[in-house]
């Protein structure tokens, strides 16, 4: 049983690592190509905006700040 287990382990390691590497390399190449394609053929005309997600987060952070300031003021008044 020992010999096969070693072989199985080696197989998983070699093929697994190989596939992870090849897949992410392929993804990197496709991503680069996609970015060039999008920025060339679908350039953004409106001024660069943050994405919804980021804006959300950023906005939330700002709102939190504002509310904290308001609370601070509120507390002072008391």
């Amino acid at each position: 049983m020992q010999q096969p287990l070693l072989q199985l382990g080696v197989n998983i390691t070699l093929f697994g690592m190989g596939i992870v590497f090849v897949f992410l390399l392929l993804l990197a190449l496709c991503t680069g190509a996609m970015s060039r394609f999008v920025t060339r053929y679908f350039p953004v005309i409106e001024p660069m905006k943050e994405t919804a997600g980021q804006a959300d987060t950023a906005q939330k952070a700002r709102i939190r700040k504002i509310i904290q300031l308001a609370i601070a003021q509120h507390r002072k008044k008391r």
């Binding site: 287990l5 998983i12 093929f15 697994g16 990197a28 994405t51 980021q54």
Partner: protein, 436 residues
Amino acid sequence: MQYLINLWQTSGAYQITPGQFAMLLIGLLLLYLAIHKKFEPLLLVPIGFGALLANIPGANLSMPAAQAALASGNDELLKQMAQLLGAHSESTTSLQQALTLAPAEIHTQVTQLAMGAGFNNGMLYSFYAVTIASGVAPLVIFMGVGAMTDFGPLLANPRTLLLGAAAQFGIFATVLGAVGLSIAGIMDFSIADAAAIGIIGGADGPTAIYVAGLLAPDLLGAIAVAAYSYMALVPLIQPPIMRALTTAKERKIKMVQLRPVSKREKIVFPLMLVALVALFLPGAAPLLGMFCFGNLMRECGVVARLSETAQNALINITTIFLGLAVGSKLAADKFLEPKTLGILLLGIAAFAIGTAAGVLMAKLMNLFSHNKINPLIGSAGVSAVPMAARVSNKLGLESNPHNYLLMHAMGPNVAGVIGSAVAAGVMITMVRAMTT
């Protein structure tokens, strides 16, 4: 009086085993680490508390109905179960074994018998069945993680995907290590066990739980605890390795500022990733599919309310029950084994090797490119989002107080999430092909 004796005999203080006592202490230790040391508290608080509940003697919260019936030691019932199972002995241990080996049909009958006699599935067992055995909870959490992930830094510098790939070497080296321990006769890990242990090196909680739930449910408790603990320990584990493998000059490399990334690119990216998965890696489809779905909800901008729910109510609800379910696997008889020690040791090796591989990959890439990468961001490829990226940033600032690496390190950091999901898919596919 009979009742008082009976109550005393059903009480925990009477029934507790040294193992359960030790596990209660371990549960408290996990809670201490989570609350006082802030070790990944969102998962470790529920896991730690789940460990306490799972080890309450006599409450059987983590047992299915059939096992609870066995544990009750009711003679009449054991006799009937033995008959159904075709077992010769009526000892709890041998019936337990027979039950594990019984075909699904018999198993159903034994369960119905136990339920008819008033035994129910334990609460934590139910949580485990719904969240982990079904595979759903880690996928839902991964969707939420996708909805929280910004691929902007990765899109601005897609080369960093290679760093995320390299850092997964920790996973596969650990698989070999587990196999080695087995061959040396020190431990007894199957190939499925080895793969599940390796995934600790992915530094990604839901991926680790998903793989362990499929390939090695018995080791799930130890694997999850190791994964989350080491993720919390990244600021201690990584820096010495990063310093040892880089020169002071390398650590001072300043990287060019990242270009802005358009919304369209961010929308296309998850679709492209899922297309590549569809073409080349169907085994990774559940994990990466849900991850990309979450990310698309985030970026597409037209389903803000779904994205918001995926990032908050849904992921929180799932986390609570997932954590308790993981805790249910910290029952004494499964956790207090030499295997656990092996898993803890292999896990830390996985983190260390992954860190080193990421850093070395960055150095290798610098040999072939004149747009240099600061090798300190290589270590972020293990994922452990966002802790590992912060560690890169901190070491960068130590060497050069004006060198902010955080955004640069976010690229390999999220690449590492993709990388370990890919590794998970490959391993699940291969292990299944090997074992059937």
